[in-house]
């Protein structure tokens, strides 16, 4: 799929969207090699000079490629679920040009060798750029600090124990303090582990009717409260992943009001679905954290709109059939999300909660800024990582047609709007809509 880099490409007749600068205007963009050379409303007003390849965008949106700050790529260790290649293909089909992968591989990304393996493999594949998180504690065991300083020097963007919270408050305190030594970010899965243990879905009427063990919404707020008190002790930067409850968002809101260096993201399922999606024991709707109540769903959508939620991530968690075609209690948590990230996020625009630029901000420059990535904005000299999409075109999610290896989408069958037409990484077109 990766193509040779054309010397210069002019993307004309585009709706240029750059949330970082607030640009929303029709115009053109020129890439030269791997970088953005020029863009603006008046570029090529008198036609494109010869020797430049021309791509006519037909008035569609041209935006910075999406930055997805939470994906699981399963390589090394679980290549039957996803690989860096299939994950890369799914990402670019979803308009994603940079993604940050969790360290919960086998072996765990808690040493420089594994970190460099993942980064080097992804670079060779040449699809969406892959930046690894590294483990905050050795082996994700929640006990001993990982070598954060050396891992950061080797390219780890931030530190997290992935899909599990750092349970011990003392370990968490020291992880925050140690990370702060080097100005590093800790990303937490905010769920009180003891309260979540054994839980299968959101605690409430639905769980009671289905006879499934519940995870109370309070599990999120309790851990967030604890962590934010610890942040206050140590002054580290803290990011809460996939916040899913109204109570949790209140904690984040209050922390931000106090001026703490706290950010958070959520994932499309938490503002587009609620616990009813579990329906008749649908294991594709078994997510971690679980799909919550309708009140929580609305609170999440509201918080994305008002900026309490800084970023939207796909929370891509590919699971093969053998992990999902099981009784609900035994099925694995997680949903595939790369290829539906943009379309489901655009619902927030189509239902008039947010402007197009605000939705894109949560998907581009906001996550890039949290992670210190030079990505997610249209900028002269920056890498030409771009997405061209039709924001209004309707389609139906058909998980079986996904590029990704696993098809476990909680959105399977959902009618959505917004189609990725072309994805460009470092000036190369890496995806073209068929």
């Amino acid at each position: 799929m990766p193509q040779r880099t054309a010397a210069r490409v002019a993307y004309v007749n585009a709706r240029l969207l750059d949330p970082a600068s607030g640009l929303d205007a029709s115009g053109a963009l020129l890439t030269d090699g791997e970088a953005i050379a020029e863009f603006g409303p008046h570029l090529f007003a008198n036609g494109v000079p010869g020797g430049i390849e021309v791509v006519d965008c037909d008035g569609l949106c041209l935006a910075p490629g999406l930055v997805d700050m939470r994906v699981q790529l399963r390589e090394p260790g679980e290549e039957h679920k996803e690989t860096l290649k299939t994950g890369g293909e799914a990402a670019v089909a979803g308009g994603i040009t940079s993604m940050v992968c969790l360290p919960n591989t086998h072996p765990v990304i808690d040493d420089v060798a594994t970190l460099e393996f993942v980064a080097r493999r992804a670079r060779k594949i040449g699809l969406a750029k892959v930046y690894p998180y590294a483990a905050a504690t050795k082996g994700l065991a929640g006990k001993e600090l990982a070598e954060m300083g050396m891992l950061a020097e080797a390219g780890a963007l931030a530190f997290t124990d992935g899909t599990q919270a750092i349970r011990d408050a003392q370990v968490m305190r020291r992880a925050l303090a140690y990370a702060a030594t080097f100005g590093l970010l800790i990303v937490q899965h905010p769920e009180e582990p003891a309260l979540a243990e054994g839980g299968l879905m959101n605690e409430g009427e639905m769980a009671t009717r289905l006879g499934l063990a519940g995870i109370p919404a309070a599990a999120e707020a309790i851990l967030l409260e604890r962590d934010i008190r610890l942040v206050e002790l140590g002054g580290a930067r803290y990011h809460a992943a996939h916040v899913s409850t109204a109570a949790g968002l209140e904690v984040i809101r209050a922390a931000k009001k106090r001026g703490l260096a706290v950010t958070c993201d959520t994932a499309p399922p938490y503002f587009a679905l609620n616990e009813l999606a579990v329906g008749d024991y649908r294991t594709f709707a078994k997510l971690s954290p679980p799909l919550r109540s309708e009140t929580d769903r609305q609170a999440v959508a509201e918080a994305v709109a008002d900026g309490t939620v800084d970023a939207i991530a796909s929370d891509h968690a590919p699971q093969d059939q053998d992990s999902k075609r099981l009784p609900f209690a035994h099925a694995a948590f997680g949903g595939a999300g790369l290829e539906t990230l943009l379309a489901v996020s655009l619902e927030l625009h189509h239902n008039r909660r947010m402007s197009m630029l605000d939705v894109l901000r949560r998907l581009t420059c906001a996550p890039a800024d949290i992670l210190g990535l030079p990505a997610g904005r249209l900028q002269k000299g920056a890498a030409a990582d771009l997405v061209i999409f039709d924001p209004d075109r309707a389609w139906k999610v058909v998980a079986d047609a996904f590029y990704g290896k696993s098809k476990n989408s909680p959105f399977d069958g959902r009618p959505v709007q917004g189609v990725v037409m072309r994805t460009v990484v470092d000036g190369r077109t890496v995806y073209l809509h068929a």
Binding site: K143, E144, E147, M150, V171, A177, Y178, T181, F182
Partner: protein, 315 residues
């Protein structure tokens, strides 16, 4: 020789001492350095006096240093390694103190793993007490011997820029040195990962650095602290190699300090953990052995002034 006018009965810490008292102790110790280098090292100054080394925590160099200091002044010195005796039999700290008091010592030299334990003991005995290290609180004779080493090399303490690097959180050596150097007008920095330096450390009058290269910039003196192995297993620090990479003193990081910067270490050293092995042996830069020599002289001075103040008995 200058008559001692040390107004304290005990030496429990550096905190509370004046620049005059510290200078007086250092001057006195300076004189003993020569005596210790002579063939006849013994004086009769404390003849008839009894010094008891009461060590609740194992120690080789400090205990030996005090023992030699006492003997060279002519005192009778008894070593008690308490962990092996009374504590095992369940005697409390205060009961031990009462027992020892009944034996009429003149000076008790006490080391204890609990901060404040030496002070508690000093309130219960008649004789003079020297703190030979209590928990993470103070180790005043170490700070004095460090000061003497610096003063003999640099000619002064005031105006020097000193970086104390390593496990400041648990270090009594760091605390005593911070107090002493501040009292004497030096400028003190501490350099450590955030897990090993309390956030409130700056209130003690130091500038806190988490980047060693930054922290060493322009320093006259670099004091390395020992990092206990049990703190290297992921609870405070991820690993020895990561610690050495960022906070171990090597020639490259040393390049940030002044060209004539001195390297100090209270011992025992962990070679390859907090200090590069070659650097530790570099006679041009490292004064680690000299510190040990100054230790005996400083302890002689401390024993002398306290024994003078405590007249003992009924005589």
């Amino acid at each position: 020789m200058t008559q001692s006018v040390f107004p304290h009965r005990h030496l429990l810490g550096i905190q509370g001492l004046t620049p005059q008292h510290i200078t007086m102790l250092l001057d006195l110790a300076d004189g003993y350095v020569e005596q210790n280098r002579a063939a006849d090292k013994k004086k009769a100054l404390l003849r008839g006096r009894t010094v008891i080394n009461l060590f609740y925590e194992s120690s080789t160099r400090t205990r030996t240093s005090f023992e030699l200091a006492g003997k060279r002044l002519g005192a009778d010195v008894i070593n008690m390694q308490v962990s092996a005796s009374s504590v095992n039999k369940g005697e409390t700290l205060i009961d031990t103190a009462m027992t020892l008091t009944a034996m009429h010592p003149d000076v008790l030299v006490v080391r204890h793993s609990d901060s404040g334990a030496v002070q508690l003991l000093s309130q219960k005995v008649d004789c003079a007490v020297i703190n030979a290290g209590d928990g993470s609180h103070e180790h005043p004779t170490q700070a004095l011997l460090d000061a003497l080493t610096i003063r003999r090399r640099k000619g002064r303490l005031s105006g020097l820029l000193v970086a104390i690097c390593g496990d400041v959180l648990h270090s009594r050596v760091a605390r005593s040195n911070i107090h002493l150097l501040n009292i004497m007008g030096a400028q003190v920095r501490v350099v450590a990962p955030r897990t090993l330096v309390p956030a409130t450390m700056s209130r003690l009058g130091v500038e806190v650095f988490h980047d060693m290269r930054e922290g060493l910039k322009g320093c006259d003196i670099i004091m390395m602290l020992r990092v206990q192995n049990e703190r290297m297993r992921g609870n405070f620090i991820p690993s020895i190699r990561e610690y050495f990479h960022f906070f171990g003193l090597d020639y490259e990081k040393l390049g940030q300090a002044k060209a004539d910067a001195l390297i100090m270490h209270p011992g025992p050293m962990n070679r390859g953990v907090e200090i590069d092995s070659d650097l530790a042996d570099d006679y041009e830069r490292s004064v680690i052995r000299e510190q040990v020599e100054m230790g005996v002289a400083v302890r002689m001075a401390c024993l002398e002034v306290l024994a003078r103040n405590y007249t003992g008995g009924t005589a």
